[in-house]
């Protein structure tokens, strides 16, 4: 496997929220999806995914349920809550601001 680039601090939450906004997913699926959608550029440090999931669950933005899964046995499937959607909105906005600011800086520097 190619070595993935380090995730920018704080963007992991955004990626997770965005990923499960489409459909509920288990941890393995979230990791795969992020890797796949980013064209294998971004790979979540496999271990660091879970503390992030637990933190988001603790904050009430996502909820988890044990369900039968495509993996052949029950997996803990995460889905977005209503508050989670709002949080995603906020994170997208702040990401937008940050990236355009960085863009601006790079162009003008």
């Amino acid at each position: 496997m190619p070595k993935p680039s380090d995730l920018l601090q704080g963007t992991l939450d955004l990626l997770i929220l965005k990923t499960i906004a489409r459909e509920p997913l288990h941890g393995w699926g979230i990791a795969k999806r992020i890797q796949m959608l980013s064209g294998d550029v971004l790979a979540v440090g496999q271990g660091s995914l879970y503390p992030a999931l637990h933190r988001l669950e603790q904050q009430g933005w996502i909820e988890a349920e044990w369900k039968d899964s495509d993996l052949g046995r029950p997996a803990k499937v995460y889905s977005l809550t209503r508050e989670g959607r709002k949080q995603l909105q906020r994170e997208l906005e702040s990401w937008g601001r940050l990236s355009s600011a960085v863009q601006l800086l790079i162009q003008n520097a």
Binding site: M1, H26, G27, W28, A31, G45, Q46, G47, S48, Y50, P51, A52, H54, R55, E57, Q58, Q59, G60, E63, W66, L71, R73, A75, K76, T81, R82, E83
Partner: protein, 918 residues
């Protein structure tokens, strides 16, 4: 929604921990399994795939721990672990822990007990609906207002020297009630005093209250049974009804519902019971708790004084008390202005001359949520002094706690350094140390509540001082619990935080290099020493206070009373209330006196209309023929109406002339005996025997002749100068003088109280309607007049001893610890030839240094503050050198005692062992 989800989630994390753990493991395992599968698909062997998967995933245990951290319930786990650890550590040094615990429990208990009284007296409202909008009507004036020709009720001087009273003439009630926009209700009442109540053929002496027809409806508390007095009942000519208290209902009727509608006799008048008050209700004065409420218009039936005077029409006779309920949104001052104006107009119209007009009483309103505030006035200052003292006790106790923690922290420097160097957060270590102090303070607080419960009982007993039906209600309730919790927690944090922070300010490397106790630097004057010196200073304050109050009590007890107080039984009978007319009651009193005298074991029996040195005061002005009256001020004398053989029984020597005896009857020449002060003041340099003077009074003055001069004796109280006193035969009361009841003084050969039952039986045989009241001994009666001083002396002695105990233990602990830490150093000194004596002295010198510093500070504060208690002292100056000196001596002795054991142990240190000591 989010809140509930979070809550449920955290709840699960906390209480279904094993399940959450299992799920976490399953989740991670599943992930690794998938990774393994993926690598297997790429063609790796089973073992290679597993290794690669593990490498990709990273350390499993760390990830799991991070997940647990994310769940944030860890602080509760941590807390439980901290508390468990703390209790283990504390159990390892039980003596010190127990000391801190006990001293804290005592400190918190004492504070909670005193606070519960402050709460009961100062804070708590009447147990009725909406006490907050009640107001009390008062007036004030400079000195006594001449316009008030008579008063029935209480008044007092405020701190500014103004006369204040809540009594008004009846017509003002009608006047103020009329067109009153500020009040939704204005109701009136008056103290009926002690009444003779016969219920179910049993006689009781019960406190009574006259109440207006709207009293109960304005107060708004519901009756426990029956109905309350209404406006229709409070009319001249209405059938006589009464409301009885729940307590009286219980006592006299055993809570029978049939009590409603039954009749009772109140001072021989028939009343029908209309209703019963709620169990909580005690009227509007927290000091008293009436058992019988009767309409205002029953005054003439129950109060013989009211037969000679029209209490309802009199415009210069002040007796009616009033309270009102403010309408919503009306402020006190807003309501006061129109009322004060109307009252001013009224009193101006009642003033007969310029002198009366010059000093008219002015109406003012006072908040009445806690009822009439006489209790607050009486107890506020003593309670605040006691609260300060118990606060100081708590401070000493806290200093012990802080010292315990400081020494513990120093001993654990290495352990803390290890923790810090292993990467423990500083805050985490502080939290753990705090857990210890919180554990002690919270457990101390819980024990303190039991101490408080006992303290409240002790204080109630002390304050009630034998008074039956003492109505001060202090109890542990929600607010008190809150108070105790707050002081425990604040104590724990405040006194735990500083040592904890100090402990974690460790320079890790040198601390780790330390080998045990050898090189630990003992600071000469660190926080510990400051705390110990502070404890000594505070203890000195409390011991000095105890000394001052005990000496006050001793001085009071050594006051020359002027008569023999030993073996003297006192009690009272009130024949008037049982229906006797004046003349018949005089006969009855005398016949009873003779019966008492005939009891075997009785050496003498006499009577008087007031008990001597019992806080009673009767006075009358008089005129000496031929002596001009200065500026309209007639001289005044204290008065005691006394029966035959009064002087012989009491043991008051007669200096000149004769005593009052059985020959002085209603028909014989009016004669009096005066005391020395009277004779010297009004007949200086002449023989007073045979001289005449006349008591001023209505309808005519009463002329009397002096037939004897008695040696001075205490009249009303132990304090102050002895006033001029005139003893008048009880058979010859001055015109217009009314004998309410009679006190008997019976001199016995043995224990006076042993005669109680005989006395009761004799009175019951003579007239079963007459209960014996106020049965006590003369000594106890006198003691009750100095109750506040006694309470102060007792409590302050307790506080002083407590302070000494806590401070001594603290000092002992500190020194014992210091010696233990210096074992090595002392061992070297001894090995090098230091004498044992010198070693002892070395330790004691430190103790003395701390003690002297504490004493100097303590003296400074004591000199500054002792004047605040000056008004509670008698015969002792606030800066009493004896109390100060003795207190200092006691403290030095205690300090040396506390320091000697560690010093002795230091001198016994075996150099060989000490050097090996690690």
């Amino acid at each position: 929604m989010r809140f509930f989800r979070i809550f449920a989630h955290r709840f699960r994390s906390l209480f279904h921990r094993s399940r959450a753990e299992a799920e976490l493991k399953r989740e991670i395992d599943l992930h690794i399994e998938q990774l393994v599968k993926a690598y297997r698909a790429e063609g790796l062997t089973e073992s290679e795939a597993t290794a690669a998967a593990r490498r990709d995933f990273g350390p499993v245990a760390l990830t799991a721990e991070q997940c647990r951290d994310m769940r944030r319930t860890n602080w509760i786990d941590d807390l439980a672990r901290d508390v468990a650890y703390a209790s283990r550590v504390l159990r390892k040094s039980p003596v010190f822990a127990l000391t801190a615990l006990v001293s804290l429990a005592l400190g918190i208990g004492a504070n909670t007990a005193i606070y519960s009284f402050i709460d009961a007296i100062m804070v708590r409202g009447l147990p009725i609906p909406h006490p907050e909008n009640l107001v009390v009507l008062n007036w004030r004036s400079k000195g006594w207002p001449e316009v008030a020709h008579g008063q029935h009720g209480d008044g007092y001087k405020d701190p500014g020297g103004l006369s204040v009273s809540g009594t008004f003439p009846y017509p003002t009630w009608d006047l103020l009630r009329d067109r009153n926009d500020a009040f939704s209700a204005l109701f009136a009442f008056a103290d009926a005093g002690r009444l003779n109540v016969v219920a179910r053929n049993q006689a009781y002496l019960s406190e009574g209250e006259f109440v207006s027809g709207n009293y109960f409806s304005s107060i708004g508390a519901p009756p426990a049974a029956g109905r309350f007095i209404s406006n229709d009942d409070d009319q001249a000519g209405a059938p006589a009804v009464a409301v009885i208290s729940y307590r009286f209902w219980q006592r006299a009727f055993n809570r029978s519902p049939q009590a409603i509608g039954q009749t009772i006799l109140v001072n021989r008048n028939v009343f029908t019971i209309a209703g019963i008050t709620d169990a909580e209700f005690y009227g509007v004065n927290p000091r008293s708790s009436p058992d019988v409420y009767v309409p205002l218009h029953a005054v003439p039936w129950l109060n013989p004084e009211a037969r000679n005077r029209d209490w309802f029409g009199a415009r210069n006779f002040y007796w009616l008390e009033m309270m009102g309920r403010l309408r919503p949104g009306v402020t006190l001052r807003h309501a006061e202005i129109p009322l004060a104006g109307r009252f001013h107009q009224f009193v101006a119209s009642t003033a007969a001359n310029d002198k009366e007009r010059s000093n008219l009483p002015a109406l003012w309103l006072e908040e009445g949520g806690s009822g009439i505030d006489s209790l607050r006035r009486q107890y506020s200052k003593p309670l605040f002094i006691l609260m300060t003292m118990s606060g100081l006790i708590l401070a000493i106790a806290c200093a012990n706690l802080a010292n315990l923690l400081l020494s513990r922290a120093t001993a654990r420097r290495r352990e803390i350094a290890v923790r810090l160097s292993l990467g423990a957060g500083k805050w985490r270590v502080v939290r753990q140390l705090l857990a210890e102090s919180m554990l002690i303070s919270v457990v101390g607080g819980i024990i303190g509540l039991f101490v408080a419960e006992a303290g409240i009982r002790f204080l109630t007993w002390l304050l009630a001082n034998g008074v039956q039906d003492f109505t001060l209600r202090a109890a542990i309730d929600g607010r008190i619990l809150f108070f105790a919790t707050v002081i425990s927690v604040v104590t724990g944090i405040l006194f735990g935080l500083v040592p904890a922070i100090q402990a974690t300010n460790v320079d890790v490397t040198p601390a780790l290099k330390e080998s045990g106790a050898v090189t630990a630097r003992v600071r000469r004057f660190g926080l510990t020493q400051v705390l110990v010196a502070g404890q000594i200073a505070v203890s000195l304050l409390l011991v000095i206070a105890a000394g001052l109050f005990v000496r006050t009590l001793v001085r009071l007890h050594s006051v020359a009373i002027g008569f023999n107080t030993e073996n003297l039984l006192l009690f009272s009978l009130n024949a008037g209330q049982a229906g006797y007319e004046q003349a018949r009651s005089a006969q009855f009193y005398e016949s009873m006196r003779r019966r008492f005298q005939a009891i075997p074991g009785v050496r003498g029996a006499t009577m008087s209309d007031m008990p001597l040195v019992g806080g009673w005061n009767n006075s009358n002005s008089f005129t000496v023929p031929g002596v001009p009256v200065e500026q309209g001020r007639h001289p005044s004398t204290k008065l005691a109406l006394v029966g035959p053989s009064f002087f012989e029984t009491m043991g008051i020597p007669i200096l000149l002339g004769r005593t009052i005896g059985r020959q002085d009857t209603a028909g014989s020449l009016r004669c009096v005996v005066v005391n020395e002060v009277f004779a010297k003041k009004f007949f200086p340099g002449v023989n007073p025997l045979g001289r005449h003077f006349a008591f001023d009074g209505r309808p005519t003055p009463t002329e009397v002749q002096i037939v004897g001069v008695a040696k001075n004796s205490r009249y009303s109280s132990l304090k102050g100068d002895i006033p001029p006193v005139t003893y008048v035969p009880s058979s010859q009361p001055p015109h217009g003088w009314f004998i309410g009841g009679m006190f008997y003084e019976v001199r016995t050969a043995g224990d006076p109280l042993a005669l109680s039952n005989t006395i009761r039986r004799l009175v019951h045989e003579a007239d079963p309607r007459l209960p014996v009241a106020d049965l006590t001994t003369q000594t106890r009666r006198i003691d009750s007049t100095i109750a506040p001083e006694r309470v102060f002396a007792d409590l302050c002695t307790c506080f002083g001893v407590l302070a000494l105990l806590i401070a001594t233990v603290g000092l002992y602990g500190t020194m014992a610890y210091a010696v233990a830490r210096r074992t090595n150093e002392i061992g070297i000194r001894v090995a090098l030839g230091a004498e044992r004596r010198r070693v002892v002295w070395m330790v004691l010198r430190e103790v003395l240094a701390l003690c002297v510093i504490g004493l100097i500070v303590g003296f400074g504060v004591a000199i500054e503050t002792s004047r605040f208690v000056a008004s509670f002292l008698f015969g002792v100056r606030p800066a009493d050198p004896f109390s100060f000196g003795l207190s200092a001596a006691i403290l030095i002795v205690c300090a040396l005692a506390a320091g000697y054991a560690p010093a002795w142990r230091a001198s016994r240190i075996d150099p060989m062992q000490a050097l090996r000591h690690e």
